[in-house]
């Protein structure tokens, strides 16, 4: 059965591997180009940047990052959706299910062979991505945002999580294909489902996977500013909290409710600040520290892998009860 799973999917797997190799070569070349430019332009002037194509490197880096973000979904579409549905559509399930092996063995072997190869390919790509992002993103002199692997766009393409994303997207495609029995519907479902889960993860789940930090702002004349630690944390939102070690003086009111009341009472900066400090309320940014990177990576990986297992179970259930 391992032979059949490999024979059936080897062409697309080779194509996918070729795509990843191309992407890897591009990343390595880009990292070298950037090394060269940044060695020459130590003064980090814009003119030098122009001359050595730093802007072009930056644009290409953004494009690569976008491609990397889409890769797990692509694996789900290309390998996941047709894994079962493609056989049902061509009636080849009737051929393989009437040989000598059970549907369960057929399905699990297929899933394992394709899933393990996809996982291995993604792992290799992540290694190249780490090298590349270390050379390009960490040292880009002109980039203001996107500093550090804790930022969502780099977080999703480095570490261990990308492997889990790929296996999840693959399992999602498999399960949808097995349940809907149409490759085309499974493709649409995979794109919509994977994107929805990824967005939900970034906006609702990942911010609370580790304890949040707080960077209180300080005021200088009329401008509020905050000093960001190095490496930069992931800024989640602007909000209020009670200063550490203080008891809320007004019972049930929350810090943000007090801040709102303070704002209603006075519009001038200094009296507003005074109002806040009499209530021991601080304004500032909630954040995830860059030191939480691995904790977040492993927790997110666990969530995605568990979801992939649940989807695998659902697909197996659909395969076992499918009747013509």
């Amino acid at each position: 059965m391992i032979w059949l799973a490999w024979r059936r999917h080897r062409f697309l797997l080779a194509l996918f591997a070729g795509l990843l190799v191309g992407l890897g070569v591009w990343m390595v070349l880009l990292a070298h180009a950037f090394d060269h430019a940044s060695n020459v332009c130590r003064d980090q002037t814009y003119q030098c940047g122009f001359q050595y194509g730093v802007f072009s490197i930056e644009n290409q880096a953004t494009a690569i990052n976008a491609l990397l973000l889409f890769l797990p979904c692509l694996a789900g579409i290309v390998f996941g959706a047709p894994l079962v549905a493609g056989e049902l559509e061509h009636y080849t399930n009737r051929l393989v299910w009437t040989q000598g092996i059970s549907r369960t063995r057929w399905f699990v072997t297929k899933w394992l062979v394709v899933g393990l190869i996809l996982g291995a390919l993604t792992s290799l790509l992540v290694l190249i991505t780490q090298y590349w992002s270390g050379h390009v993103f960490a040292r880009l002199p002109l980039t203001l945002a996107l500093n550090g692997r804790i930022q969502p766009t780099l977080f999703a393409v480095t570490g261990v999580a990308p492997v889990a994303y790929t296996l999840f997207a693959f399992s999602l495609g498999v399960a949808l294909g097995a349940i809907l029995r149409r490759t085309s519907w499974a493709v649409v479902g995979t794109v919509v489902g994977y994107t929805a889960v990824a967005l939900l993860m970034v906006f609702s789940i990942r911010p609370s996977l580790a304890s949040q930090g707080f960077l209180s702002t300080t005021r200088s004349t009329s401008v509020q500013y905050v000093t960001l630690p190095r490496p930069q944390p992931w800024i989640l939102s602007y909000g209020f909290r009670f200063a550490p070690g203080t008891q809320p003086s007004t019972g049930a009111s929350s810090a943000s409710a007090i801040a709102k009341r303070c704002l209603n009472q006075s519009f001038t900066g200094s009296s507003y600040d005074q109002c806040l400090s009499t209530h021991d309320v601080q304004g500032g940014f909630f954040d995830q520290s860059a030191t939480h990177y691995w904790a977040l990576q492993w927790r997110e990986t666990a969530i995605y892998l568990l979801s992939a297992l649940v989807l695998l179970g659902m697909a197996l259930w659909a395969v076992r009860r499918w009747r013509e």
Partner: protein, 301 residues
Amino acid sequence: MTAALETVGLGRRYRTKWALRDCTFSVPEGSITGIVGPNGAGKSTLFRLAAGISRPTSGTVTVFGQEVRLNSSEHLKRLGYFDQLRPLYSGFRVEEMLTLGRRLNSTWDNAAAREWLSELNIPMKQKVGHLSLGQQAQVALTLCMAKRPDLLLLDEPVASLDPLARHELLQTLMGTVAEQGTTVFLSSHFVSELEPVCDNLIILSSSQVKITGTIESLLADHRLLIGPDGPEPLNGVEMISSRKTGRQRTLLVRGIPPSLGPGWQDLQPDLNEIVLAYLARRAPGANHKLADDGTSDGGPS
């Protein structure tokens, strides 16, 4: 004698339509049993139920005394299943299809498989998708036979083949089967294809079994009566069909009429006439036409 294949009250419903209903028969071990019926009679549904890729809505189907279940691989070892659609991986070479069979079956006679295919001049290196329909059918049949099954289920094995390919395929089949005593259950639209190779015949129409029996007993039990239009001589026999042509009436009956009125002739019908009579016969009380019953033979999938 034990039954290689046995169904009891077997039925399969697709939403509201019964593709097969209350089907009870048995295929004796070592026999070659044919099933004949029009498109949509439920033949393919019956084969899929026996092969375990479909599950009955009612009743049971057993293979060598073992109930067929969706996920058991037990019955598969003794079964060679030829699907009506002849699904093969079109991107595989012929020899890769044999590798598939060898890898997925515990018993596999690779030498015999290669020999059959080379006798039929099917190139081992050719992609399956580039073969003719007849050659594809031969490859599919080879896959069924190389696992040395005790029961071959062949759903329309010769449909859409030219006469020569039909002949070749049936010959390959019957040659092997005779050597090994394999039980064969096969279907066709045409009784003329089944008659030369089968011991038993099952007539299926409108999702129901009309009659089963050995070909000899079917021939011995039925008479063709031709006589003047008027009262029909139906004492002691069951009328299967009655047809009026001009001033003559032609009856096909089951049983031997003891006496016939003046002007009546008693003839021996051929198998085709018997089958057509049963297919034209409507079930008592049935109010549907033969043409639009149930699902197509391809079946809803």
